[in-house]
């Protein structure tokens, strides 16, 4: 049988899923949790606690005021020591709430029993409201507030939901383990999302390198034809929204449009489980599963981590910092960004911590473009990366805009495949940020 996949471009990097057999372990609580106030797309949330306040797990500590923003809840119990700057994953210091951990007291009303609650009592509006209150954001990595995605704009209609369980990034296995260990919860979460959107068809897109997850979910579904497991060919970047939609339901999202324009909403596996916990168990988003892995990591693990735990603790739990590791990446090797400080706290959008050895982390020497057009072949958005990179180098933003630079999903396939080692994605990102600035000033 031919497996479904997206049509244009794509690469197949070495998978290196070293941690896929390692069950999810719960990490111990940190001594001090630092909860960043800007964890998601949109403006930072506003703190509503002060120095000296006693707080419990699950208590609301920062409110998202803007349309695209999310609430933040206390991931630990204890005392607020200060509301001050702390380094975040970007390397810059940003405002954060520092909590000294004392015990593990949870707010009343949070159901911590492992029983499965499959009856959905709330209406669609109530579900979205609940998700908004619980501060749930997309756990795939972009951290876009989930409730905003579920509020379908007027005049548009969603007719299918896609659960993104592709996990096409090499090394990462967090979503894979969640599917195996929390399959039932995932399916209930999917049904909740379907109800919130008012759709009666959902697909779970899984790449074929996770056959155990595919069969496990298919068994659990047991002939339920509203939710369908869609096995996909292994190809990066299949986890990109637009690629996934093309692969599963063969609809193409036009340039500059959103998935909702083709009647589709994509949510990550982790997000679906978080939605289940919020709606059925009343538990806000305070922890997430993170893969800690790397070629030389002695114990690659999938850890259930509270938000605000320092990254160094995660590495400690996975067997310590290997002697030859030279680069720590937040996320996967293709799209992740390097961290320059190991004391930075875990945020909602962090899906993996990857430790790369020196020889792997070094970039290849850059030579001249040899016009092999491999970057054009692999670009999943049909762009000409070599051309945009050249335009970016000479600083012609208008030209880059005409070459549809804003369509770039920053998957890094072009840079990965370039035999000349050219930093294509770097140049494209630079052009993208400059063109973005241009567009914003034009609107004003």
């Amino acid at each position: 049988m031919l497996l479904k996949t997206f049509k244009h471009g794509g690469v197949h990097p070495e998978e290196n899923k070293r941690s896929e057999k390692s069950p999810i372990r719960t990490l111990k609580l940190p001594a001090i949790a630092i909860v960043q106030l800007s964890q998601n797309v949109g403006p930072p949330s506003e703190p509503i606690v002060n120095k000296g306040d006693k707080i419990q797990v699950g208590q609301l500590i920062a409110k998202g005021k803007a349309f695209i923003s999310a609430n933040i809840h206390a991931p630990v119990s204890g005392t607020v020591t200060k509301v001050d700057d702390a380094p975040d994953i970007s390397g810059y210091r940003k405002k954060a709430i520092h909590i000294e951990v004392q015990g593990d007291e949870w707010m009343e009303g949070i159901d911590r029993t492992p029983d499965l609650k499959s009856e959905i009592g709330l209406s669609a509006q109530e579900i979205i409201q609940k998700i908004k209150e619980s501060g749930i954001v997309g756990l795939g990595g972009a951290a876009f507030p989930t409730h905003v995605k579920l509020m379908v704009p007027e005049g548009k209609k969603a007719n299918c939901l896609i659960i993104n369980a592709v996990e096409c990034e090499p090394y990462l296995t967090a979503d894979h383990r969640v599917m195996l260990e929390r399959g039932e919860e995932l399916l209930v979460g999917t049904r909740i999302l379907m109800k919130a959107l008012g759709v009666d068809k959902a697909y779970i897109g899984i790449e074929n390198n996770k056959p155990d997850a595919i069969s496990h979910l298919a068994n659990l579904l047991n002939g339920n034809n509203r939710i369908e497991v869609a096995p996909l060919k292994v190809k990066y970047p299949q986890g990109g929204e637009k690629q996934l939609i093309k692969a599963i339901i063969n609809r193409e999202v036009p340039s500059g449009k959103l998935p909702i324009d083709v009647g589709c909403v994509v949510q990550n596996v982790g997000t679906a489980v978080a939605v289940y916990e919020a709606v059925q168990k009343n538990k806000p988003l305070i922890d997430r599963v993170i893969t800690v892995t790397g070629k030389s990591v002695s114990n690659p693990s999938n850890l259930l981590v509270r938000i605000g735990t320092p990254v160094s603790m995660l590495i400690e739990e996975a067997g310590g910092f290997p002697a030859d590791a030279s680069k720590v990446i937040n996320g996967g090797p293709m799209m992740g960004k390097a961290l320059n400080n190991l004391d930075v706290p875990v945020v909602k959008g962090m899906s993996g911590v990857l430790l790369m050895p020196e020889n792997e982390a070094r970039r290849a020497p850059v030579v001249n473009c040899i016009r092999c057009a491999r970057c054009t072949t692999v670009c999943p958005m049909g762009l000409d990366p070599y051309l945009i990179a050249q335009i970016s180098e000479i600083g012609k933003e208008e030209m880059a805009e005409k070459e549809r630079v804003m369509d770039c999903i920053e998957c890094g396939s072009c840079h990965f495949t370039c035999p000349a080692g050219r930093p294509l994605l770097d140049h494209i990102r630079k052009a993208k940020s400059k063109v973005g600035f241009l567009i914003r000033t034009r609107v004003k």
Binding site: D85, P87, S90, G91, Y92, R93, S326, K337, A338, N340, N341, A361, R362, R363, P423, D426, H427, R429, K430, S433, K434
Partner: protein, 286 residues
């Protein structure tokens, strides 16, 4: 045969004549009267087209001067006061003397004073490095060493010092056009008064972090202690967001603030040597 030659000569002459008449009338009708002074001024302008005056090139600068018939707020940083004195008589106006300016790099985080903590292995462009992280030495305000300013400089007045990792401005060549100021994503470079005998004092840091945090990354960071503010008798120094700033209009170059700065973040340039050594950093700047 000879008649053919005559036909050709006559017809071509006729066509030429008619075209000449048409062109003559069109030239009359669409004649643009241009002030000859524009050409005169353009001829003496430096023709660097750097945009340092704030206009689109030298000719545009000349056009604006002639249009307004005044030299108010018009200054060509390349030509300076000497040039304005030449332009003055052309439009019949007295040129107002302006203090010459120079670009200064307000960061002294050299490899020695602000050690590199992480190794950056990507695109060498400050714009990109700034967007990506806080830089190799960890200071989120300090110089990234990517050299965007050097590329922007059209007068070859800057180069990157390999020893320190900071850009150096060649005083004789810098005309204060401001191209480097615009190129720097962190706004480290500032245009300041060149000063008498090229002497100037400035705070070589723009870090707005709290003292302890700033000091952690860089030995010569301004920690916002306020000692210089108290020492200054001319109210030239202000302290805002943990960062002191010396107003070059008020500064009298008394050098008292340099002596009290606990982190040596105030630099003095082109001063004669003092009896006792005060800063270890001034040697690097000179």
């Amino acid at each position: 045969m000879s008649s053919l030659v005559i036909y050709v000569v006559v017809s071509l002459s006729l066509m030429g004549l008619i075209s000449a008449i048409i062109l003559f009338y069109i030239a009359k009708k669409f004649n643009v009267v241009e002030d000859p002074r524009i050409d005169e001024i353009t001829a003496i302008l430096p023709a660097a087209n750097c945009g340092g005056c704030g206009f689109a090139g030298c000719r545009n600068f000349a056009e604006i001067i002639v249009k307004n018939e005044s030299l108010d707020n018009m200054f060509c940083p390349v030509g300076g006061n000497d040039l304005l004195k030449l332009i003055g008589p052309i439009i019949g106006q007295e040129a107002v003397e302006k203090d010459p300016m120079i670009a200064v790099v307000r960061c002294n985080g050299t490899y020695q004073l602000a050690p590199v903590k992480v190794d950056y292995d990507g695109l060498t462009s400050c714009y990109f490095m700034h967007a990506l992280s806080s830089g190799e030495n960890g200071c989120p305000y300090g110089c990234l060493g990517g050299g965007d300013c050097v590329i922007a400089c059209t007068f070859n007045a800057m180069y990157m010092d390999k020893e320190t990792g900071l850009p150096v401005i060649i005083e004789d060549k810098c005309v204060a056009c401001g191209a480097c100021v615009k190129a720097c994503p962190r706004k480290i470079i500032e245009l300041r008064k060149k000063g008498p005998k090229n002497r100037r004092i400035f705070i070589s840091c723009i870090n707005k972090e709290k003292g302890a945090v700033a000091k952690k990354n860089c030995e010569v960071a301004c920690i916002g202690c306020g000692k210089c503010v108290k020492e200054c008798k001319f109210e030239a120094i202000t302290l805002e967001n943990n960062l002191a700033y010396i107003n070059f209009e008020k500064c009298t170059l008394c050098r008292k603030c340099v002596a009290v700065c606990p982190t040596n973040s105030i630099l003095e340039v082109n001063f004669p040597e003092r009896k006792k050594p005060v800063t270890q950093t001034e040697a690097q700047e000179a």
